[in-house]
Symmetry: C2
Subunit: 353 residues, 2 copies
């Protein structure tokens, strides 16, 4: 079968041929429909994040997938059922985090991540997975199901951020998303119904499809070249929630300055080892006197995938169509992994329903 | 009546004489029993925190008080009832934060603080207060009632910290308190029943009464001169909760390094304007990949005072006695506000029950 993988010592993904996998007991076989590409895939290709499966000379990419159950193999799934796979897997025996259904809370070195760290991903015509890690989704997600995994990360991050504000009457007036990539835009769409005013920060010139999408959602585009994060309260307004999806280390700290009294910043980016000066005393004091919080969040569990389905189902139809700007066949792997200024979300299509 | 106040232009507190206040409608008159001294009082004396009441040439100190209702003045309170006053007051008309019973969540510039910022405190033979800001407490608190206000700040801080960890199954194995002052020790006593192992960080040599108290509580003393906060995981263990009560700005950031996976740091200190270098990228990444959180917290509301009563009631009798090391008459104001190495909590006693 066809698969897209990076090989040891290589610096770009290739279309390879490998045997179709046989499901082990408890696994189902899934025929892949579509797999999304995100920033983590590029980091895996570059070798800056994750790692190859033990003993393998290649790693199949992809962790944002939707597919159809080809062979339930005795599991509770049904042939023809549309499913989205979760990402984390136990490294051997299931740990307490997996047993309680919270693999997202496991230490990173106590889990594998399909397509990212120590396990093959989903960019192949077929993949297998324990049935318990395949989330059945409605038939309407045959094309937009690739958005469920990234949106599940937002569901988890917001669940934790909201929990941190649950001990008092929190006002959700204004929210700011840092980053206008696919995850930022998905999050912005999620926040539209929960905040009176929403903002999304990027550093692109008009005309730009992400700015069009931000404004079509009813949000305000903030150009970080004109208005750095710390200046947002003065130029726009202080924020009750800030969602960081840039991976720019300074944003974690500038977020504190842009939060309103009792606000929360939720961090999802994975920056490098930058060191820099901070006004540490002032930031510490702002956290305390303003009852502010910073909450880090990674990955998601099955309930977040289910919540992501509900969130995406409630969005207008045009949103998924405008977000997924580029769809490629597996053979066009070079094009799919190249940069283009008017792209938002790129998808590899292996098959259709 | 006698009062302890700082006068404009002066740099130390003095015993003064001022008229006994008359309660306004809705206010009760309280006969003060005891008032505790804490770090904030010293900052008010030095002029580095808070400010004088508008139009006043002096500020009566004190925000940790216990007293007896002398004149209920038509309110629901009863004469002879033991009460503890809360600290924040509306600057004029009650704002939404006061109306909903959450003055602790108000912006600092939208409230007065008795004894700290813009309003006289409780270090006087009598004080008045709206009855709704006087918390009735059991008779057993006639001497230890001064600990209720500081413990209420811990109740609020931990409520917010625990809320931030409520979206998953959080494990409470180990907790570290930064700071062995009265607030740190009160918090340590509170954490004893909730964590398997507790630690308290200070920088004092043995023999020392705070180290004795830490060990009598069953906790481990961590000397920050030997083990800086960031080294705590390697020397002891990573922490599920860290409670910062030092006001040392670097501790807010070092806390991230000392937290275990899924841990939370709760910040209460108010440092100055220190600037310094941080390994910002690594700290940002640790927050994200470990689902870690930092939660700032200030002040408390009436339910936290009530919770503090319950917490203190459950502690062994020796604890309050060992924590309150020094009790002075108002005339001994100079001694009360001077430093002494074997002091933990200092109290001014105006009267007894």
């Amino acid at each position: 079968m066809k698969a897209i993988a990076v090989e040891r010592g290589d610096s770009r993904p290739r279309l390879i041929d490998k045997p179709r996998p046989d499901p082990d007991p408890g696994d189902a076989l899934v025929r892949t429909l579509r797999v999304g590409i995100d920033g983590t895939d590029f980091e895996v290709v570059e070798g800056t994040h994750g790692g190859f499966p033990a003993g393998s000379d290649h790693q199949v990419l992809g962790h944002e997938a939707v597919g159809v159950v080809e062979d339930p193999n005795g599991t509770d799934l049904e042939a023809g059922q549309l499913v989205v796979p979760t990402v984390r897997r136990p490294p051997g025996d299931a740990t307490e985090y997996f047993r309680r259904g919270e693999p997202d809370m496991a230490p990173p070195d106590e889990c594998l991540e399909r397509g990212i760290d120590g396990a093959h991903g989903y960019m192949a015509e077929y993949f297998t997975s324990p049935a318990g890690f395949l989330v059945p989704v409605p038939d309407a997600f045959a094309t937009t199901g690739v958005l469920i995994e990234p949106m599940s990360n937002t569901e988890k991050a917001l669940e934790h951020a909201y929990a941190s504000r649950s001990a008092f009457e929190w006002q959700r007036d204004a929210a700011l998303v840092l980053g206008n990539g696919p995850l930022g835009l998905l999050t912005l769409s999620r926040l539209q119904s929960e905040f009176d005013r929403t903002y999304c920060l990027g550093r692109r010139d008009r005309p730009d499809p992400t700015i069009d999408l931000i404004e079509r959602l009813g949000a305000t585009y903030v150009d970080s070249r004109e208005t750095p994060v710390a200046d947002v309260p003065a130029v726009y307004e202080p924020m009750d929630l800030i969602y960081e999806a840039t991976g720019y280390a300074r944003h974690a700290f500038e977020t504190i300055d842009a939060l309103d009294q009792n606000g929360v910043g939720v961090l999802l980016g994975l920056p490098g080892d930058d060191e820099f000066d901070v006004a540490g005393g002032r930031l510490h004091r702002k956290l305390v006197l303003g009852n502010r919080a910073l909450v880090g969040s990674v990955n998601s569990h099955i309930e977040h995938f289910e919540a992501a389905c509900e969130t995406l189902s409630a969005l207008p139809d045009w949103f998924g169509d405008e977000l997924i700007t580029d769809t490629f066949e597996p053979a066009a792997v070079d094009d799919a992994f190249s940069a283009a200024p008017d792209r938002i979300k790129t998808v590899i299509e292996f098959d259709s329903r």
